[in-house]
Structures are given as structure tokens and as C-alpha cells.
Amino acid sequence: MKIGVLVNEGPYTHEASDSAYNFVKAAIEKGHEIYRVFFYHDGVNNSTRLTEPPRDDRNIVTRWSELAKAHNLDMVVCIAAAQRRGIMDENEAKRQGKDANNIAEGFRISGLGQLVEAGIQCDRLVTFGD
């Protein structure tokens, strides 16, 4: 089955990103296809590579990046929500005249249309948030 996942909250403050991660991992183990993980609202904060939690805590960002790499996941960060919250890739930083970018490996910045398209293409869309 094709499953899409929407993550609406950032890491650490809420459990949403943990739940989504565990759900995605379990779905892959069960042989489902994760069509896309879309990050919206504060969920875009899951994609900054500048995250540096204490050593005895999980690194939520790296964990997503590694899962994406292992299973070729399409992880999309909403451009409008990202711009509001200071999440940039190289292109966006250039376009907006910013001096740095911070997007982690495995994430790509794109439009909200990618969320609607996931809804159209997937058999199921599951939302995680606050």
C-alpha cells in the first residue's frame, strides 16, 4: 500500500516527529511503500542540520536523514513554512539573499502542492502533529 505521512510539529517539543518516525519505520518493515513524508508548520524544523542534542538523546534530524538514505524516502519540506522559520537550502538562500543554508541531507524544499499530490497518489495519508 502507498502511504503518505504529514508531520506538523518540530522535533523535541512534541512527540509527533517520533511517532511519525516509528510509524514510517514500521510501515516499511511491513512492506508498504512510503510515498512521501511532508513536513509542514513547525514540522519544517525537523530538517535543520544544525540540530545538536545532548549525546544521551536521540538525534531526530539525523535519524530521519538516515532512514531516508536507507529506504530512498522522499522527504519534502514546505517552502512557505520553511521561509517563515528560517529553513533554507542553497537555492533558497541565494534567492532570498541569505548568508547561509541549513537543510539536512535527505530533505528537499518544495511547494505545498507536493502535499496535495501525495494525497492524490497515496492510498492513505496519516497526519502527525500537536
Binding site: 496535495v116 494525497g119 492524490i120 495519508l125
Partner: protein, 130 residues
């Protein structure tokens, strides 16, 4: 606004419902939720919105954010008609519990009791909630 033409998705039309349960301004969900709804219009799907719980407050007439320094996005609900998004369902129980009537709302809505709205939720293909 984008110069891209309407999306063609091979004739698949799904029932999308955006479920709004949060009040405006206290959190960003209502505003960013509305942004997705507007984008979804380009995909020619069967789009509706449900206003439940504090989501009903999003439609209250007379919002004035001047002193807040936030953008008043309530006029945008009136633009939905031009985007062919005309199915705005309000749960009667939520509206009445908040002491509101249809006259308090800034757009024409379809008021439904809980059983009617429950049936509407059931028949959706994709539910995206904020």
C-alpha cells in the same frame, strides 16, 4: 500566486477534507491550513472544509488584528468561492457551544449536526487536519 497552469493528475478526483479545529492567531494552524486549501484548488479535486471546535472561530465576523501586528487573514475565507471551494461545513454543536450563530460568520456555510458531519468524514478519501 503562481504562473504554473492547473495540475492534471490523470483524471483522479478524490474527496479532500481539511478539518479545522483551532482558533486563529493563538497558533498559526488556521493560517497555514488555509494556505494548503488554496493550493489544493489547483489540483481539481473535490475539496471541502470542516469547522469543528475552536475552528468555528476562524469564521467569526469583525476580526481586527491592527493592534496585534499580525495579518488579518479572515477576508481570505471570502475568496474561497472564487477558488471553487464552496463546501464549508460547520458543526452545529461546536458553533452553538460557543454562543455563535450563522449570522456571526463571515461566509456562507453549510451547518450540519454531528451525525451528518460524521457521515461526511466517513466518505472522504483524504482528511488533513490542523
Amino acid at each position: 500566486m503562481s504562473d504554473e497552469m492547473d495540475m492534471e493528475e490523470g483524471g483522479v478526483i478524490k474527496k479532500f477534507m481539511f478539518v479545522n479545529r483551532k482558533a486563529p492567531y493563538g497558533t498559526i494552524y488556521a493560517l497555514e491550513g488555509l494556505e494548503v486549501v488554496l493550493i489544493s484548488a489547483a489540483f481539481e479535486q473535490d475539496v471541502s472544509m470542516a469547522f469543528i471546535d475552536d475552528g468555528v472561530y476562524e469564521l467569526k465576523k469583525g476580526q481586527d488584528t491592527k493592534e496585534l501586528g499580525q495579518k488579518n487573514f479572515s477576508p481570505t475565507y471570502r475568496a474561497l468561492e472564487g477558488y471553487d471551494i464552496e463546501k464549508l461545513y460547520v458543526e452545529r454543536e461546536s458553533m452553538e457551544a460557543r454562543g455563535l450563530t450563522e449570522d456571526d460568520l463571515l461566509v456562507d456555510v453549510i451547518v450540519m449536526d454531528r451525525a451528518e458531519l460524521a457521515a461526511k468524514l466517513d466518505e472522504q478519501d483524504v482528511l488533513i487536519s490542523f
